[in-house]
Each structure stands twice: as C-alpha cells, then as structure tokens.
Amino acid sequence: MHLAVYLPLLLPALAALAARPLADHLNPRLATWLLTVSAVALAAASSLALGLLALAGLARIPPAAALGHWSARVMQRDDPTTLWVALIAGALLTAAASAAVHTFWHRARTLLAAAVEATRLPGTGELVVMEDPAAEAFAVPGLPGRIVVSTGMLHALDHTERDILLAHERAHLTGRHYLFTAAAQLAAAANPLLRPLAAAVAYTVERWADEHAAAACGDRRLVARTVGKAALASSRTGGRSRLPAAALGILGRGSASLRSAGPVPRRVAALLTPPPSHRALPLAGTAAVLLAAALCAIEAADDLEGLFDLARLR
C-alpha cells in the first residue's frame, strides 16, 4: 500500500482549515449540508484507511496469516508499510471506534430523553411559556418538537421580535437541525481533526434558522436586532454570561473583533450584510476533497486486496 492510504488521514486537516470560511461565506443551508456530509465522509474514509493499515499489519503475523491461509512472508516482502505503522493505525482505529460508539449512544439517549420531555411539557401547543424572569428560549427536538420561551424573554421582545424568535426556533425543528449537529459531532468523535467542522455546523444551523426567520419576516436587519436584543437580555437577566461587562476593560479586550467573537455577534454581523449566495468555487473545492478521499480509500483497499490475492496459499 502506498501514499493513497495516507491521504484520507491528511484530508480532514485540510477540511478543518476550510470549515470556518465555508461557514462564514456560504448560504447557511448549503454550508450545513456540505460540512455535515464532508465530516461524515471524511470520518468514514479516514477510519477505512486506518483499518486497511491495521489489517495489512495483522496479515504479517504468522498465526493470523495461517488462520487466513495466506503467506506471511509474501505480505512482509510486498507491503511497504512497517509493523509500527500498522500497530499505531490499529490503536487509533480502536480509539476512533470506541469514541464514535460512545458519542452515538449518548446522543441517541439524550435525543430520546428530549423527545420524552417534549411530550411531558404542559399543554398541547407547540409553544410552552415558562414563568422565569431570566430571558431564555430554546427548541426541544421531539415528535413533535416543542419551543420553550421564558416570560423574561417575552418581555424583552416586542410583538414582531417574538414572531422572529418563534420562526427561528421552528426552523430548527422543521429542518431537523439536531440531526446535522449530531452527525457532525459523531464524525468529530471518530476523528478529532474534524472538530472544527462540527463547530462550524453548530454555527451554520443557527445561521440557517436566522435566514429562515429573515425570509419569513422580510427584514434581515430586524432579525439582527432581535438576536442582539435577546442575547443582551439573556446576559442581563440570567447571569449566565461568563464575565460582567465591567470586567472587559481589565482584560484588555478593548478591540473586540469578529474573528475572535462568539456566535451571536457573528450571526448579527452576517444578517447586517447582504445575504450569502450559492457559490460554485467552494462547492467544487469540497467536492474535490471528498472525491480525493473516496478515491484514495478505494485505491488503498484495492491495493490491499491485490496483496492478499498474491499472498493467498493455494
């Protein structure tokens, strides 16, 4: 097996670098799909590559070779990978598989628990108002999902802004955004290099819901204002923000920039600029990376199969 088997292991790093620019500049719906599919495909390709390397190593061990009726000597002679590489690949694959299983199990259980809670929430309507001075609003996935809004949040917003909030949360539920974030996080668990992609997906689903609300109300600036107002009300009433505003000066973050900002200011800034369009270049770039990963993985698998054929004892 040659270079082809290592490329799927390196491509996730490239994708990680591209994740933030894609999330910032693409139409959020397209970006969500692109990043999620990329994360899952790259996690699969890199796991396959690790599997092939480990398998090639296993085949060199005489007892395993005897069991599979192939020649350990031929494998040792013709396979360019060293035993150490195979061992490391095996260890990484084991770690990736157990992390993925762990994440899948936890996420599935949490989603199920959320769905159960959604049915237990009072009333039968989609909206649940909770008596709480802290400004808070969130969607609970379920069948059907529910939207919980605190009285503190309702008081902080006017009529139109409440409609925007509901349109945003409804977009999360109808678009099943929790499945995208879950899939991306599963991929990131299997391959930690893909974590920036999972973080980008968490952001693009928010942007997707923002743009959905903007389309519903017809005014992107109004959505920007609503998001900003809600965030300020939330930090004012909830005491959940990490540091009081007065501490800003002490920390010397005088020149807060969008590059290092949290998701809320980035969402607001995105809504204040013209809507992102579908661009051909990032699409083509992503397609090329995925295609390369797939081709390399297939090529490496083919290579290994050839090797096994050669080493088969007749």
């Binding site: 809670e117 237990r120 802290a134 919980v148 605190s150 920007a224 809600a230 990490r242």
Partner: protein
C-alpha cells in the same frame, strides 16, 4: 373582583383574616400579570388603607409558600404570581438545560451565552437599533 373582596373584607372593619388578605393580594397580582408589582403598588391597588408593612409581610409570606415569584426592583422586590403547573414543568426543563452539558447539545437555544467582548461588539454592530440605556 379584587374591589369586591376589598369592600367585603373592609366591611368587617379592622383586621382581616390573613387568608382573606392573601387571596386579595393574589387577585391584584393576577390581574396585573405579567407585570410584577412592588408592595407600594399592591397597597395602592388594594385601596391604600393597609399599612405598608402589612402588605410586605403578606407578600413575603406568599413568596415563602412559593405562591409568588419576585425580582428585585429598586430597593424593594416586585412580585408576580409564581408558576402554576405549566410553569413548574418548564422551570424543571430549564434546570435540566443548565445542569447537563450533553442535554444542551440537543436543545437549540435562540442565543448562546455571550463571551467576553461579545456584548461590546454587539452594541457596536447594532448601536442605532438598541436602547443603549438598557
């Protein structure tokens, strides 16, 4: 309704039964909801014949029983009727949201917590649209 209760209680003259006063106070606050009222406002709504400390005592007693919720306003507290059944269920939901990081991952919050510097940035982005005094 509260006016009727008031005149009825008032006609007894002098001290009212604690339970009657509590019911009256609750009625005033239910009518005013979702706006919270300070003891002074409750006293005015009840006709102003009661002493301020009586109203405060009644309100704190109701708050101790979890019938009322209160938020600080100025030097006093402002009171609203506490969560009924629906409110309690939703409040439990919020506790869950705050206590379990994994749970938070599946609940789509409208706005994330602001990080250091975010508030400043938000105000700069939206300065014309936001009430800076808030």
């Amino acid at each position: 309704m509260s006016a009727n209760a008031h005149s009825a209680a008032g006609s007894i003259g002098g001290r009212r039964a604690g339970g009657a006063l509590e019911a009256e106070v609750l009625a005033v606050l239910r009518k005013a909801a979702p706006h919270a009222l300070t003891p002074g406002e409750v006293r005015t709504a009840l006709g102003g014949s009661l002493s301020y400390s009586t109203v405060v005592t009644t309100l704190s007693r109701l708050h101790d029983k979890n019938v009322l919720a209160r938020t600080p306003r100025g030097r006093a507290f402002a009171y609203t009727p506490a969560a009924d059944e629906p409110g309690l269920a939703a409040r439990k939901m919020r506790q869950v949201l705050e206590n379990e990081p994994d749970r938070e991952a599946v609940l789509a919050r409208f706005v994330d917590d602001l990080a250091t510097g975010d508030e400043q940035l938000l105000r700069r982005l939206l300065d014309a649209d936001l009430d800076l005094g808030q």
